[in-house]
């Protein structure tokens, strides 16, 4: 059974078509990389899947766990198990990381009919997960992302992913703005979160990230469609030949 099945997806923003018939199937336990040049629709795909407003789906369908994903609101999709690691995580003054995560985790638990966690269990859980991305637990009492460096913000995204245990995680250019040490820590965190009941979609420009997070499949998104799919070797070919090479392949 496919976890996510995208069929003939067309989407536009402000009347401008971006996705033009995208097909993609993802199973549990798999890691997929989506690569492509600027403007090919990578971030639009992440936004449409997570229900961001301002994007209009004009055709096609998305099934998540065999039900219509597009019928759910953004927060319902999150609670149903879809997580997005943001390319540019926002700063939220006045709301601590701990409070933010407590609200998020408990919303998801309520949605699944589970009891909410008590404060003690919750703090234990946060400390454990923070260690995954080598973050000192003192950041938990700081406001969400406020005054965080680029690397800390990305680590925080992966920490949140660990807390929320999604069945589908989409990492939108998680490597952008990371130095080599931060890249290693973030990738290690993601690798530890690989699981047989979870799929991960890595959106990136560069092959570099895929040396750390090794994908099962690589797809090339070009002008709003998946034009090529293959295994991790495809990323190396792209790195070598550049995206211009696709023009020739397509015709």
């Amino acid at each position: 059974m496919a976890l996510l099945k995208i069929s003939n997806l067309h989407a536009e923003i402000d009347g401008k078509p971006i996705l033009k018939g995208l097909d993609l199937m993802i199973n549990k336990g798999e890691v997929h990389a989506i690569m492509g040049p600027n403007g090919s629709g990578k971030s639009t795909l992440a936004a449409v899947l997570t229900g961001r407003e301002g994007y209009t789906v004009t055709d096609g369908s998305v099934e998540f766990n065999d039900s219509d994903l597009l019928a759910l609101s953004a927060d319902e999709r999150a609670k149903a198990g879809i997580f997005l690691a943001f390319q540019y995580p926002v700063e939220v003054p006045g709301v601590s990381n701990a409070n933010f995560m407590k609200a998020a985790v408990n919303e998801a638990r309520k949605y699944r009919g589970q009891e909410t966690l008590d404060a003690f269990d919750f703090i234990q859980l946060m400390k454990e997960k923070a260690a995954l991305v080598e973050m000192d637990s003192s950041f938990l009492s700081r406001s969400v992302n406020e005054g965080f460096s680029g690397g800390e913000k990305k680590k925080n995204e992966i920490f949140q992913m660990a807390m929320l245990e999604p069945s589908l995680a989409i990492l939108d250019e998680t490597d952008s703005g990371l130095d080599i040490d931060a890249l290693r820590i973030v990738s290690n965190g993601v690798n530890k979160l690989r699981a047989s009941d979870r799929a991960i979609v890595v959106i990136t420009h560069y092959q570099r990230l895929l040396d750390y997070i090794v994908p099962d499949f690589v797809h090339v998104l070009y002008k709003g469609k998946i034009v090529l799919s293959g295994t991790k070797e495809l990323a190396l070919i792209l790195e070598e030949k550049g995206y211009e090479w696709l023009e020739g392949e397509q015709s």
Binding site: E53, G54, S73, A74, D75, P93, E107, Q160, L164
Partner: protein, 480 residues
């Protein structure tokens, strides 16, 4: 943009929970205002003559004044002759809690105000003012053991006339401003509190104000005196029924802190704000001021303002004693058509006086929210220090936030600092919360509470929880 509009619509669905009217038989003075009405009020209260004479002087002075126009608020002219200046429950309860009209007890029960001493363990002494009359003061005897006087000001005028005479009008004279003059002429009740030398008041004191009758103005007067080395924490809450007309509330609060004394005054103001089209609501024109008479005195104002159609209020501190301290912590939230013009004045007179101002404005809907503050350092105030922080948070793009800080410094050794920020709850932030499974309504409540945290943390515990809920309720209905 589409999202903003949606958010605005959602916000405008919020309900006012205290809008019910109690069916209580009431007695009114004839409508309108003249010397006879003032004499009637004074005689109803069995006041000493000095009070009546003072009221009449205030009335005479009021007639020479013009309504102020400098605040950034708009409203049609008020017809002062179309207001009832005195309304009281017919059955005179007063003496014992058992004699209170059950309908009125039910009203306060509904509002969550405990009046039955035997049932409550919360440790807060309450004075409840219903329209023009104080209906019950709890824990009076327990307070009396410590020498603390806490009673309706009308009782204080009868039982402790010299004390009232000494302090009333000493901080806010009737010549102070238009609304203070009006209040001085017609004030009907309010609380009086005196903490003797060296006494730390053993419990929070609280007054709960309720406007019930239609076309009635509420003009209460509160006077708190903390004698040398004493401490008191005082809370004030207010609600009113939903009515299509506007009702006037013009209160005066005076605080006097002697040497080494501390007064902490907290308000959660939730008068009826009017409906989402801007019909009805309370005009809240209030003069609040405290004086640190002698050295090392401290006055701290904390206010959470969510109600009223119009708020015009500047709780202020006169820092006369050397080393005295004034603080002002404020959260003012406006929605729909509400208008708030609020802030503080810190008047530094004594040496090494310190003041701190933290103001957080939150505007939603079509509302306008202004901070207006004055920091004045007089010539003699060597080494005075002030720090002001004024932040504004906007929800949507149809509301307004304005800041009018005035600074007058006449002493070179003083330090005055002012910081201000304006921010908006952006779509990006809301989406971030949504993507973590947190719905829009809860997201806004979390952000607003986070933003107001520095002020809310100044409130006594029970009040802080209430205030947090109140901020959330005022934003209720924001689920997409």
């Amino acid at each position: 943009m589409a999202k903003d509009n949606e958010l605005l619509e959602q916000l405008s669905q919020s309900d006012y929970k205290y809008g019910f009217v109690s069916n209580i038989e009431q007695e009114f003075a004839p409508i309108g205002l003249n010397e006879d009405i003032i004499k009637l009020i004074s005689s109803k209260k069995n006041e000493p003559d000095f009070m009546l004479q003072w009221r009449l002087k205030a009335f005479k002075h009021w007639k020479t004044l013009k309504e102020p126009e400098w605040a950034k608020v708009n409203y049609p002219p008020i017809d002062y002759q179309a207001i009832y200046y005195y309304a009281s429950p017919k059955a005179k309860p007063k003496k014992s809690l058992d004699e209170i009209d059950p309908e009125m007890l039910a009203t306060f029960e509904k509002l969550g105000i405990p009046l039955n001493e035997r049932k409550i363990l919360s440790g807060v002494a309450v004075d409840a003012v219903f329209d023009s009359v104080s209906v019950a003061t709890t824990f009076k005897e327990k307070l009396a053991e410590k020498g603390v006087i806490f009673c309706p000001i009308s009782d204080a005028l009868v039982e402790h006339p010299e004390l009232v005479r000494k302090y009333i009008g000493s901080v806010v004279p009737y010549t102070d401003n238009y609304f203070a003059a009006l209040n001085s002429a017609v004030f009907t009740d309010g609380s009086f509190c005196y903490i003797p030398k060296g006494v730390r008041c053993p419990m929070e004191l609280s007054t709960y104000f309720r406007i019930n009758a239609a076309s009635t103005g509420q003009f209460e007067r509160t006077l708190i005196v903390a004698d040398e080395g004493s401490y008191v924490s005082y809370l004030e809450g207010c609600t009113a029924p939903m009515r299509d007309e506007n009702q006037l509330h013009a209160a005066v609060v005076e605080l006097v802190a002697h040497k080494d004394a501390q007064i902490k005054y907290s308000t959660v103001q939730n008068w009826y704000p009017g409906d989402k089209e801007g019909r009805g609501g309370i005009y809240n024109f209030v003069t609040k001021r405290g004086i640190c008479l002698d050295s090392n005195a401290k006055i701290s104002w904390t206010q959470v303002e969510t109600g009223s159609a119009i708020t015009w209020k500047y709780p202020s501190c006169i820092l006369k004693g050397d080393n005295s301290v004034g603080e002002f912590y404020s959260v003012a939230m406006t929605n729909h058509h509400q208008q708030a013009d609020t802030g503080t004045k810190m008047i530094h007179i004594g040496k090494n006086t310190k003041s701190r101002i933290v103001s957080k404005g939150i505007s939603a809907g079509l509302s306008h929210n202004s901070y207006r503050g004055l920091v004045r350092v007089s010539k003699k105030a060597e080494g005075a220090r002030n720090f002001s922080q004024c932040d504004s948070l906007l929800l949507g793009d149809k509301c307004g936030a304005h800041t009018f800080p005035y600074i007058e410094v006449s002493n070179k050794t003083s330090t005055v600092e002012h910081e201000a920020t304006t921010s908006k709850i952006s779509d990006d932030i809301l989406f971030y919360f949504n993507q973590r499974g947190i719905g829009r309504e809860e997201a806004v409540a979390m952000i607003v509470n986070g933003y107001a945290k520095e002020v809310l943390s100044q409130l006594p515990m029970e009040f802080a929880v209430e205030a947090q809920k109140l901020l959330a309720v005022s934003l209720e209905g924001s689920v997409g």
